[in-house]
Amino acid sequence: MFQAAHEQLPEQSVLRTLNPHQNAMVTTISEIIIPQTDTPGAKAARVNEFIDLILTEWYDEEEKSIFLTGLTEVDTRTRDLFGKDFIDCAEKLQAEILRVLDDEVAEARGEVRRGSSRRRPPERDFFFMIKQLTLIGYYTSQIGFEQELHSEIIPARHAGCVPLDEEATK
């Protein structure tokens, strides 16, 4: 499992912030969030490279630290619970851990919502961050845009209200 994850990694020379272990985690987590189905998933869209770019050039130091600390804490959780690093866990266990993290984000969001009139997601939460970056990295990739969303740069026509063609958007 560990070896398989590393073998499938893209060229590591392009990565400037994530070390090989962190990159393996990011690649695995983002693929669990947006897996390959009848269309390619996050790994094929090289979401890990996008995340490395954001960590290197876009995030401030605090955000970068929250993200990288978050990765470490995921390993801490799996070691406590299952006695091994996240990427060495079975897929089912990996998904279970992410489910817990996702629930924590949802709960935090609910609390924020109860406490104020504006809906504010917890932006400085590791799982929120990696989920957000995975979605952006995937859906703004050529794979996401063309194969998953079937979007067009030049639609050439406009119609205000037409039946949604399930086949065309599948």
Binding site: F50, L135, I136, Y139, I153, A156, H158, L164, T169
Partner: protein, 561 residues
């Protein structure tokens, strides 16, 4: 120097400068257009078809660079990773404000100016607007009425192409429209509900926009790619770069000189005329003077006033053509940020096709038929409905195959209505030179002192209520009324700093945009505005420019100038 002498000089190449260049060139005047910024090559610089995966940050912009170089420009939601090059560098173009009085000055310095990145909404003013100051005893009376400008609205619309729906409203006159774009499914639901529950008072129509819905004057119809403000290689939306400047250049009479940062105007006190324009070459830093018989200032409301403030003489110690003391005074911007959003149930099996670069419009309904007890004037709503996309996934619980399948498909219909309110003219909203600070070309910067007052705040509050009422009438769920505290300037409709009026003692310009103090000086950008209406102003700036050019040339022919 003979080569530096022209019939006319136009300062600025944006919405109004392009019009002045075209009109003056077509009337046979040798015209020089001075543009502070660089030239733009549509083939190289337009970026509307560049996909997200071909820009470095996938549309999230180079955050650290933007925070460093464009912290003010960044507050404009129209700026993105593709078009930030069409917004100024704030370090090169500083200005100052007073503590507690923020002002956001959004600018574009390049050939085409802000017309490349404008919102394209195009509405006529009515006499409800032109008569407002006189009716209420505020500011000064407009020296013109709708009938004075109506033929010039026709003239401008016929050339630029404005798509829209005729509605027959006195407060929002119909124009010469190209076919309207379509409302989408949820917008039709809201439009029908507004018609049913607010008959004779409120109405929702498709936005009137300077985008071609059919081929027009040699320009192609819109292909619905969406992001107009990144440029348009088919020239389907109006910008000076797409439309008026090419027409101006075709006359063979017009020269556009980029990298020409205007420093000041030269005034001959004996002749009572402007004799020339002094520039600093943006590349060589040389000071150069150009001479002309007439000068049109079209540099934007604040820049045109700044040039005059920086052109003081012994006779005009507080700014050229400022015998009234009103130069730099009465800045207005539209107050924006009151509104509501909500989910419109139904039509889950329908969608709209193409990226319509336009929204809806709810024409002003306050203080139209009956007087409102809490505030003067009114506001219009702009907005749109759309089905949410994959972005909603960041706020949803879940991940994995089913999650991916769900968020890849359109989500609920969300309708947003945002008000644009009229700002009252106020002498205490003003700009002046801040001589303690210079821009990158050594020209004193502006100190801006402008705040929203009671009437604007009352409008914002009412917007959030009436927007929610209309959404509620349409059966919307999860309605969120909102009031945002936006600083003045952010609507990018700043105007009023050299107002038109009937009396030289209380206004800078006369009924033809001609300076009371120098009859060969015309100011036709937003500076000339005597009140602000609540509709988007650019169409009116263009009509006033064309009208002023016609007047100026007829006066020259008669030997009056």
């Amino acid at each position: 120097m003979a080569t530096n002498t022209y019939d006319a000089i136009v300062v600025g190449s944006g919405i109004t400068g392009g019009w002045a260049a075209k009109e003056l060139g077509e009337k046979g005047l040798q015209t020089l257009v001075l543009e502070a910024g660089r030239p733009i090559d549509p083939d190289q610089d337009y970026a509307e078809h560049v996909p997200e995966w071909e820009v470095r940050f996938r549309g999230m912009s180079d955050r650290k660079k933007v925070q460093e170089n464009q912290p003010v420009q960044e507050t404009c939601t129209g700026m993105d990773e593709w078009n930030s090059k069409f917004f100024v560098n704030d370090k090169q173009n500083p200005y100052t404000t007073e503590p507690g009085k923020p002002f956001l000055w959004i600018r574009g310095r390049q050939v085409g100016g802000r017309s490349i990145i404008w919102g394209r909404q195009s509405y006529r003013w009515s006499d409800l607007d032109f008569e407002a100051n006189q009716r209420e005893g505020l500011g000064v009376d407009w020296p013109i009425r709708y009938q004075d400008i109506a033929p010039w609205y026709d003239h401008v619309e016929d050339f630029i192409g404005v798509s829209g729906q005729r509605e027959g409203l006195p407060q929002l006159p119909d124009g010469h429209f190209l076919p309207p774009m379509e409302l989408n499914c949820a917008e039709v639901v809201v439009r029908d509900a507004v018609a049913k529950y607010f008959p004779g008072e409120r109405l929702m129509t498709i936005g009137r926009t300077a985008i071609l819905t059919q081929p027009h004057n040699g320009r192609a119809a819109c292909h619905y790619c969406g992001p107009c403000a990144r440029g348009c290689i088919t020239r389907s939306y109006f910008s000076s770069l797409n439309s008026t400047l090419p027409a101006a250049l075709r006359t063979g009479k017009v020269t556009v000189r980029p990298h020409s940062v205007v420093h000041s105007l030269i005034f001959d006190a004996k002749k009572r005329k402007i004799t020339g324009v002094r520039i600093i070459d943006g590349q060589t830093r040389d000071t150069i003077e150009f001479r002309a018989k007439i000068v049109f200032l079209c540099a934007s409301a604040l820049e045109s006033a700044r040039i005059l403030l920086n052109s003081s003489t012994t006779e005009f110690p507080n700014g050229l053509a400022n015998s009234s003391g009103e130069l730099g005074r009465n800045i207005m911007d539209h107050c924006m940020g009151g509104g509501a959003r909500g989910r419109i149930p139904g039509n889950e099996d329908h969608i709209s096709l193409g990226n319509r670069p336009n929204g809806i419009y709810v024409p002003r309904f306050r203080n139209v038929k009956q007087k409102h007890p809490l505030f003067l004037r009114g506001y219009g709503f702009q907005g749109s409905a759309a089905r949410t996309k994959w972005e909603r996934g960041t706020e949803m619980r879940g991940f994995g195959a089913e999650f991916k399948h769900t968020i890849s498909r359109p989500g609920p219909w969300i309708m947003t209505l945002g008000g644009f309110g009229e700002c009252l003219p106020n002498h205490e909203n003003f700009i002046e030179l801040d001589k303690t600070k210079l821009d990158a070309w050594g020209i004193p910067v502006l100190r801006i002192s402008c705040v929203w007052r009671e009437n604007e705040r009352a409008l914002l509050k009412d917007m959030s209520i009436t927007a929610a009422e209309m959404l509620s009438a349409a059966g919307a769920r999860d309605i969120e009324p909102y009031i945002e505290d936006n600083a003045p300037g952010l609507t990018i409709h700043e105007m009023g700093t050299a107002r038109m009026g009937r009396d030289p003692k209380t206004s800078v310009l006369n009924a033809h945009n001609q300076a009371h103090d120098a009859n060969n000086l015309f100011i036709t950008d937003g500076a000339c505005m005597t009140s602000s209406s609540c509709v988007n102003p650019s169409l009116t700036y263009m009509a006033l420019t064309a009208r002023a050019c016609d007047y100026a040339v007829s006066q020259m022919k008669r030997g009056e100038i």
